[in-house]
Point group: C2
Chain length 488, copies 2
């Protein structure tokens, strides 16, 4: 157990922060609410970004870039958008500094006040739909399938690295369609892309569902989401995909002439995931010794450590093994440090969550084997040098599956059906996790449940079976269970 990292059993929140900082993922910055993403964390984020970007392009999307700033008046154009959103924003009021008269530094130049304040984008629907008005005239201009990778700012008083920061990095897809059906299809397609990414790359099982009206994105007709469960029994929303109807088209007057030469408002979707996924990745898989990075996102998948330390002979073997692994597309690092003990290095690589460690010792090599340690289960085994590349490739796949299965088992064990308020509260206060319960379908009841329990409806799962029941709070009739949880 790493001495730098608080054990989960002692303080889960502190464990998370220790891990993020000590493993070199991110850190606080001098700017309240903003984080620094450190090189190791940024490398994992780059792998997430590049994978998602490829998946977006394979589904026909292209990237573009829209302004960081949004004129204040734009935010009020879509009524629900401004009501439900975007009040806690960074506001730019001036565009120049000048030297202080007393020589003490610089001050804001009062003569350089903007006529209209600019808001640092908290999300880009408004500026993008204002632009789409010029880009869309005819059905021939549709669909428009655009994504943007960008930084956004939503002011936050309490910071939690990756999970809640004033500035974060994300992608936001903004698509425009000729029909309602096509836009809904796109909304669902991107939800599927997110779910596939979470499961196939992050080894993170997710539940696909739709949000209730209370939890819907401000300005959306429907918000779809993927919800994941963390090791402390709290849920985390890992991605959202919104069907926006014609709301933004109407707010920004974006119409198109149809094949039949009528004029109609354009249908819209938007969808996004953010650096928050880094928090999900850490909290879903790691342990008291450090990170456990899913192999397909690991910047280094295999580290080769000569034991007791690098020698000419061991380095030659290491290079040969590395070349074989790289030829199979595996990302390999050779440890060349000759200062620290092997035990210290092993602990460091465990802290970083490198999926596979290969120990190279002279005696093992004489027997034609190497010692292979997997990070997820900490099991060690001797593997023959002959065919090592294929064995390691298979092991990396096995680690992915094992991590996914472990998270799925945890989630299954922490998804509880309850039928009474007392059971509802005792599960939430006890083992936590998802609670599947009946709810009468009203926003008022949902609000009361949230006030009483701090749990929210995470989603109504897709393809949810209908089932007669009674609301756990009001006893009113209900036709389906929904998923509650306390959440990040």
């Amino acid at each position: 157990m790493s001495k730098e990292i608080t054990p989960r059993s002692e303080d889960y929140s502190q464990w998370y922060i220790d891990l993020v900082r000590k493993a070199g993922l991110a850190d606080y910055s001098a700017v309240k609410g903003c984080m620094v993403i450190k090189p190791y964390g940024f490398g994992i984020w780059e792998n997430m970004r590049d994978t998602l970007d490829r998946m977006f392009k394979e589904t026909g999307h292209v990237n573009a870039y829209f302004p960081l700033f949004i004129p204040k008046s734009f935010l009020s154009k879509e009524a629900a958008h401004i009501e439900g959103f975007a009040k806690e924003c960074a506001v730019v009021t001036h565009y120049r500094l000048k030297n202080a008269d007393d020589g003490s530094g610089v001050v804001v130049d009062p003569d350089a006040k903007l006529e209209e304040e600019l808001i640092v984008r908290p999300t880009s629907e408004t500026i993008i739909w204002n632009t789409y008005r010029d880009w869309i005239q005819s059905y021939r201009d549709l669909p428009l399938l655009i994504n943007q990778w960008a930084n956004v700012v939503r002011w936050e008083m309490r910071t939690r690295l990756f999970l809640r920061t004033a500035e974060f990095l994300w992608q936001e897809g903004h698509t425009a369609h000729a029909t309602r059906e096509e836009a809904i299809e796109e909304t669902r397609r991107m939800l599927d892309v997110y779910a596939t990414f979470a499961e196939d790359y992050m080894a993170l099982p997710v539940i696909k569902g739709v949000k209730t009206a209370n939890e819907r994105f401000a300005g959306a007709v429907d918000t779809y989401c993927i919800e994941a469960l963390m090791q402390d029994g709290k849920a985390l929303q890992a991605g959202t995909s919104h069907f926006l109807g014609q709301n933004f088209a109407k707010a920004f007057d974006v119409t198109f002439s149809t094949k039949e030469n009528t004029l109609e408002y354009v249908w819209a979707t938007s969808w996004g995931v953010s650096t928050r996924l880094m928090g999900a990745l850490v909290m879903a898989h790691s342990d008291d010794d450090g990170l456990i990075v899913p192999p397909r996102l690991a910047t280094t998948q295999v580290v080769i450590v000569p034991i007791p330390k690098p020698s000419e002979e061991l380095t030659t073997v290491a290079n040969t093994i590395a070349a074989e692994l790289r030829s199979k597309g595996i990302r390999v690092k050779i440890d060349t440090d000759d200062q620290n003990r092997a035990g210290y290095k092993f602990a460091e690589y465990e802290k970083l969550g490198i999926p596979v460690r290969i120990g190279l010792g002279a005696r093992d090599l004489a027997n034609g084997v190497v010692e292979v340690a997997r990070r997820d289960t900490k099991e060690k085994s001797s593997i023959a040098l002959e065919g090592l590349g294929d064995a390691i490739a298979a092991l990396l796949d096995n680690i992915h599956q094992t991590m996914y299965q472990r998270a799925l088992t945890y989630r299954d064990e922490h998804t509880t059906r309850v039928d009474t308020w007392d059971d509802f509260m005792s599960v939430l206060d006890g083992k936590g996790g998802f609670v599947s319960a009946h709810w009468d379908g009203t926003s008022e009841t949902e609000d009361r449940i949230k006030d009483l329990s701090k749990a929210t409806i995470r989603c109504i799962p897709l393809d949810n079976p209908t089932e007669d029941g009674r609301c756990i709070l009001t006893g009113n009739p209900s036709t389906q269970r929904v998923l509650f949880a306390r959440a990040y």
Copy 2:
């Protein structure tokens, strides 16, 4: 000649703007000073970014991400930095909006005023060196070789797409070293990376040099640059690499313990290129019919156009050819539009600057050939289907070389040695380009020359020969020629 695009001879500035907008690279936005980078333009920028990113990683750098905001007080810590820089900035003063009392929309909440204003980063030396203080303790922590891809904001009243916008995208490398020599070596290494990128990918010949004190980055000891010449005879600074000495380490108190256990200030470099390169790419190569995109950065390198329109048979052949080209790593698009005439399509692809167009006609195919048109010279030729992949790969290389050579020839023809003030002015007012002339080495003279001629010293070329002469303005003795030009 495209009717949408103003000819260069008529109005070079308008030609540039027409091209950028009509070819779908970028456009103005609703936010004064900010541009929208459109999908086609962003695709080319992605190729630039990915190529540079690979080159940075091959030279040992890693990416990270630092906050968008900089506390106002940070800017004044390095005296030259604030004096020479960073006055025209976007200033965040508030962090919340609220509903207007009269229901007219939203207003800035006066209660949510920041204690200290935040500046939207115009460049990140200050926030990064403030962070490095925590990251660097010992010589073992050095060198620190970090790059960031980010958006930055420098307020500009007059906007020119890509060339001068309030917000732009760039990368900024920020490295920390134990010795002066090592930092200078890094500064020069990254200048070489930029020059290689410009020449090998943008097909853009550049002159490597060092800036005079007047033109140096605020806070730098030395600023190195690459300078390119545009088709209108104006110079464009395409990248800079700064040796920062210990200036920022001293301003932010970043010290390290040496091997000998003494405490020293860290040595620094920073270096950057931006979306301005998109402007250079357009202006260096394009013509009155549209863009000419260098093949190695083109999002589509080859477009296959069935003539007169797609048929089942032609599409089958197109797919076969595309597969062969793709197997050689060539980016290919097949035109599937069956509405427009071939002539219209040809003009469109010329406007977009696709390097190679393959026309597929039934008669040519019967003869075992296709018609291949290259964008740079507009030459057409018949090329045999047999071995077409290799022929096209070679053609793309040839186009790159031809574009580079054409730009180099232009530059050579527009680099003039002059020895008198009259000749200096007549070259500047006449054919333009670089003017190689003697200068007495003083900032005062440089300022006067700039005032009188609107030309600046672009750089003192690296490995500049020494040569006795007389300053073109003052007649004072000079030991070397420097390169003047009017510039973007």
